[in-house]
Symmetry: C2
Subunit: 343 residues, 2 copies
C-alpha cells in the first residue's frame, strides 16, 4: 500500500512531515511517496538517515499553494503544486490514500477538481474526531462546505456514521443534529429543514437534536452541522482548551509556594491529559465523499501527528471506507429516487 | 430605582432567586419587585427573615412559562405569566430594569411583544460576557435571532460596542466578525454580506474577521455573529470547560499518590480559576435593543448569580445604556437613509 504525503505549505516546513513519514514506514505496513521540493526532501531524508529506505520515495513538485491563496483558482492554475501532484497520484492509482497539512481549502479544492466525488455525493464533508469524556466524537462538516443544503447535511450524517463505525469501531453510532435546543421545532431554517431528512433516513441511528454542550459529553457519536458552524465550533474548542490550560498553569504559579509544589507533583498527570486533548493523537481529519481516503492535518502538525495520520490513512484503505460510503450513498440516493417516482 | 425579578420557571425553583434579591438589596442601592407566586415568595421571604424589608415587594403572577413551551404563543396566551407581568412593570414604568432566569425564548418574546424595541432596531440581540485571557469579551448575538440578516448583524456590532464601553469600561472596543478565516473573502453568505457593512460603519472600531480561537484570547472585545452560531459557540464553550476541569480532576485522582497530594495543594488556586470561569460572576446576558435593561440569566443560576445580575441591572440603569443604544442606532439609521436618498 502506498500513501502520498504532501510535505509542503505547512507552518513548520517539510522537516516535520518527512520525519513523520520516516517514523510511519517503521510502524505501519506501507510505503510513503513524499511530494514536494525534491532537493529539500532528499536533504532531510539524509539527515534522518533514511535516504536508502525502500519504503520511501520522492515525487518532485515545483510549486506550493499558500494559506492565503484562493483555493479554487490556485489548484486550477498551479498544475505543479504539491497538493495537485499528490492528488494526481491518487487519481492515477499510483497511491491509495493521501495526507496533507497544507491549506485546507486547497486540499478540498484539489480533491474536488483532481480526484472527484463518489457517485451520488453532493458535497464532501470534513470529519474531525474530537476527544469526549467517554471516548471520541466525530464532528462534521468542519469546514468543507459553508451554506450547506439539507441534502448535504443528510449525506454528512450517512458518511459520518460510516466513519464512526469503520474508523472508530463504534457500533450503531448515535447521530445528532447540532442545534440550539433539543426540541424538533428549534433551530434556523437549515436545521429545521434537515431534521425530518435525518429522522426518516433508515441507515442512521438518529437521536435528534444535540447542543454544543453535548459534543464533549460522550452522549452522541456523530455530530452533524454546516461547514461554517463546524469550523467555528472546532476553533472555539481549540482556543478554549489552550486558554483553560494556560489559566490552570497561571493559577498554580500565582498561588503561592504550596500551589507551586503541588503543580510540580501533578505535572505528569496533566501531561497525560494534554496528550489526550491534543488533536495530534488522531492525526487528522478525513475528507469524506471523495474517491480515495484524503486526510487533512492541522497546519501546525508535528512529526508524531503526521505519523498517526499516515496510520489512519492505512486503516482507511484497509477498511475500505470509500467503498462503504459509496454503497451507503447509493442506497440513499436510490431510495430518494423511488420516493420521487412514487410522488 | 426598582428592579423587577421574575422568580419563576428556573431549574432550582424560586428559592435561589428570592435569596439573590435579599442579598442584592443589602449590597446595591435599589428596590426589587419579586414577580411570581405570592404565597411561595412570602414564605421564602419569611424564611430569609426579610418579610419586612422595605426594599422588597411582591407582585403576584399566577402562571409560569415552561422551558418547553413555544415562546411566542405562550407570552401571548398566558397573560398572567410571571415573565409577562414582570415585563409589564417595565412598560408601565413601575420598574426600571428586569432580571429573569426562566426560558430565554419566553423572555425574548415577552420583551418584543410587551416592552418593544428601541426605535430603528430591527432585532434585539443577546450580549453575553465571557472570560478571556486578559479580561472579558462580549459575544453577541447568543441566541435572540437565528438566520439574522446582515443589517441585524451591523446593529449587533453597534449595540455590542455600547455594551462593552458602558458596562465593561472598555474604551474604543475592538469589534470582530466571527468567521472561518481572517481574509475578507472568507465565510458563508451571511458573513460575506456583513463584512462590508461593518467596515464602513464609523461608530465602531472594526478590526475585521476573527476566528473561534480568538474569542478567549483577549485580542477582540466584541465578537459579532448570528444567534444560531452564537448559541452553539456558547454552549460548546460551557460543555468543554466543564469537560476539561473534570478531566484535570480525573487525571490527578488517577495519577498516583504524589499526584493526589499535589491536587490537594493546588485546590485553592483551582477554586479561584473555577470562580473566574463561572458565568455567575457577571450574572447574566443582556438583551440589547429593547426599551429597558433586560437581563437573562442561566436557568441554573444560584443566588449569587442573581445578586450579580441585579447589580448589573442597576449599572445598566445608572449608565443609561438604552438611551445610548437609541442614540447610536438613530445615527446609523439616519446615515443609511441619507445614503439611500442619494442613490
Amino acid at each position: 500500500m502506498r500513501i502520498a504525503l504532501d510535505v509542503m505549505g505547512t507552518d513548520y516546513g517539510p522537516k516535520e512531515l518527512v520525519l513523520g513519514a520516516v517514523m510511519a514506514v517503521k510502524e505501519y505496513n506501507c510505503d510513503v511517496v513524499l511530494v514536494g521540493d525534491e532537493e529539500i526532501i532528499r536533504k532531510l531524508l539524509k539527515e534522518y538517515k533514511a535516504e536508502d529506505n525502500p519504503h520511501l520515495s520522492v515525487q518532485h513538485a515545483s510549486e506550493v499553494i499558500g494559506m492565503r491563496e484562493h483555493p479554487g483558482i490556485a489548484v486550477k492554475t498551479k498544475k505543479d503544486a504539491s497538493i495537485v501532484v499528490a492528488t494526481d497520484l491518487l487519481r492515477n492509482k499510483k497511491c491509495d490514500a493521501l495526507v496533507s497539512s497544507g491549506s485546507t481549502g486547497a486540499a478540498v479544492a484539489a480533491a474536488l477538481f483532481h480526484l472527484g466525488r463518489i457517485r451520488g455525493v453532493g458535497r464532501p464533508a470534513i470529519a474531525t474526531p474530537i476527544p469526549s469524556l467517554t471516548g471520541t466524537t466525530v464532528l462534521l462538516d468542519s469546514g468543507a462546505k459553508v451554506d450547506a443544503k439539507p441534502e448535504h447535511m443528510l449525506q454528512s450524517a450517512i458518511m459520518g456514521s460510516v466513519f464512526a463505525e469503520l474508523m472508530l469501531d463504534i457500533k450503531n453510532p448515535r447521530v445528532g443534529l447540532l442545534n440550539i435546543g433539543e426540541e424538533e421545532i428549534k433551530g434556523n431554517e437549515q436545521a429545521l429543514a434537515t431534521y425530518p431528512l435525518l429522522k426518516k433516513e433508515k441507515q442512521i441511528n438518529f437521536i435528534g437534536n444535540v447542543e454544543g454542550r453535548d459534543i464533549n459529553k460522550g452522549t452522541v457519536d456523530v455530530v452533524v452541522c454546516d461547514g461554517f458552524v463546524g469550523n467555528v465550533v472546532l476553533k472555539t474548542a481549540e482556543g478554549l482548551a489552550t486558554a483553560i490550560l494556560t489559566m490552570v498553569k497561571e493559577a498554580i504559579m500565582g498561588g503561592g509556594l504550596m500551589a507551586k509544589f503541588g503543580g510540580l507533583l501533578i505535572r505528569p498527570a496533566l501531561r497525560g491529559l494534554k496528550k489526550k486533548l491534543n488533536p495530534d493523537a488522531y492525526g487528522g481529519a478525513l475528507l469524506l465523499g471523495v474517491r480515495a481516503p484524503f486526510f487533512i492535518c492541522h497546519g501546525s502538525s508535528k512529526a508524531n501527528a503526521i505519523k498517526n495520520a499516515i496510520g489512519a490513512a492505512v486503516d482507511g484503505v484497509e477498511r475500505n471506507i470509500c467503498n462503504r460510503i459509496a454503497e451507503n450513498i447509493a442506497k440513499q440516493t436510490k431510495a430518494d429516487k423511488v420516493v420521487g417516482s412514487l410522488k
